[in-house]
Symmetry: C2
Subunit: 262 residues, 2 copies
Amino acid sequence: MCELLGMSANVPTDIVFSFTGLMQRGGRTGPHRDGWGIAFYEGRGLRLFQDPAASSESEVARLVQRYPIKSQTVIGHIRQANVGKVSLANTHPFVRELWGRNWCFAHNGQLADFQPAPGFYRAVGDTDSETAFCDLLNRVRLAFPEPVPVEQLLPVLVDSCAGYRGHGVFNCLLSDGDWLFSFCSSKLACITRRAPFGAAQLKDAELTVDFHAETTPTDVVTVLATEALTANEPWTLYQPGEWRLWRGGECLAEGRATRAPA
Amino acid sequence: MCELLGMSANVPTDIVFSFTGLMQRGGRTGPHRDGWGIAFYEGRGLRLFQDPAASSESEVARLVQRYPIKSQTVIGHIRQANVGKVSLANTHPFVRELWGRNWCFAHNGQLADFQPAPGFYRAVGDTDSETAFCDLLNRVRLAFPEPVPVEQLLPVLVDSCAGYRGHGVFNCLLSDGDWLFSFCSSKLACITRRAPFGAAQLKDAELTVDFHAETTPTDVVTVLATEALTANEPWTLYQPGEWRLWRGGECLAEGRATRAPA
């Protein structure tokens, strides 16, 4: 199993606090020693840092913590390998271009008996996660060769994820840099922070941040994670099959998929 | 205009020395202040560091210099913007997946009246360089929907580059992680280092490296750059229209394209 981290905000926001908590789980407070990655959208560009080494010992992870990058949409992941060897090519998040945008994806879980029809997008590594991401993009492109608004896209995303869930565990985060889609098969939590901001205490490291001092009153910042990252805030737990679509920190749409047959 | 940096080696090799020279040209000894990027293949994975800030002042560039990454194939670029604003999405090198491999591309030059037919791959940013890269991949995929050996691919690469050259200046580096293709429209230089290794003196920074101490007798390392990076070595200058295909530091094939009509 792995851990996911996501952020959607209405202003460029520094995710160092949440990232610091997550990184501890990469070999220190958690067993996820097989790599980590984090992707920050910057306009239409995407800044990706990855390392197949344990995050708690990674030089690149220390850079990310030292050098705060502000972004409105972030997807991060730490990995405990189950399918696919430990290598850079198997390290989440995965990125592909579709419709002239960078699409970014990370997955928590594992799939069995999953051999989708080959399509345009193909996995570079050998994880079930990247295979599912490529299949999802192939389905999107088949349904919509030209760009459509995300509302029109949603049924394809939800149906695809529900189908993957029929093969095992499929919690995922997906973004095109504009919106952030989240799907829960077994475990996912979220919190939306907005004024009045308070202080938050990380569960995995001795660190407290006073968001009041770091934000303006109109900021809206949603953080998503496999498990709550802070000890003193009321995180919302997704139910199995639940999905939410975020943009600018706000939930645009939500629903619950019925379980698809395997 | 921009500057290119490439490396092809038969063993994982540290490119910090050449990168240090190139980075000086990003705002210090050269005018290329509008971003830089460098991509290192690691197996089938690709490690990409980029920054729209001048390389001589970039925190991420300092990380790359402090933290030597060894690779057999590297593509780097520093940018002086002419087409497309300064942003991460417009920063080379560009990456796309084709046939389940990461293809990486950087370009020096500029193209005029260049509006290729739309295809599957589309530019995320607004540079002529990324547009040409997408067009090149669209041509490859049209000619070969399934993977072919690079020897079979070469005519498509050479003809496409010769065509782009008809629109202006088109020096480029392209790799799928296995081979490195280089095309010269106006300016490109290379050097192959092998035993007996000597010392090299950077032109752009006060730095000398003794490759003898850093290598084994069987190492073969080719470095490509817009202009010679060292003062005391015999670099080979490409002629306009010349191309070379490298793998493991050795030149697999070379030739010269005739000028295609614009």
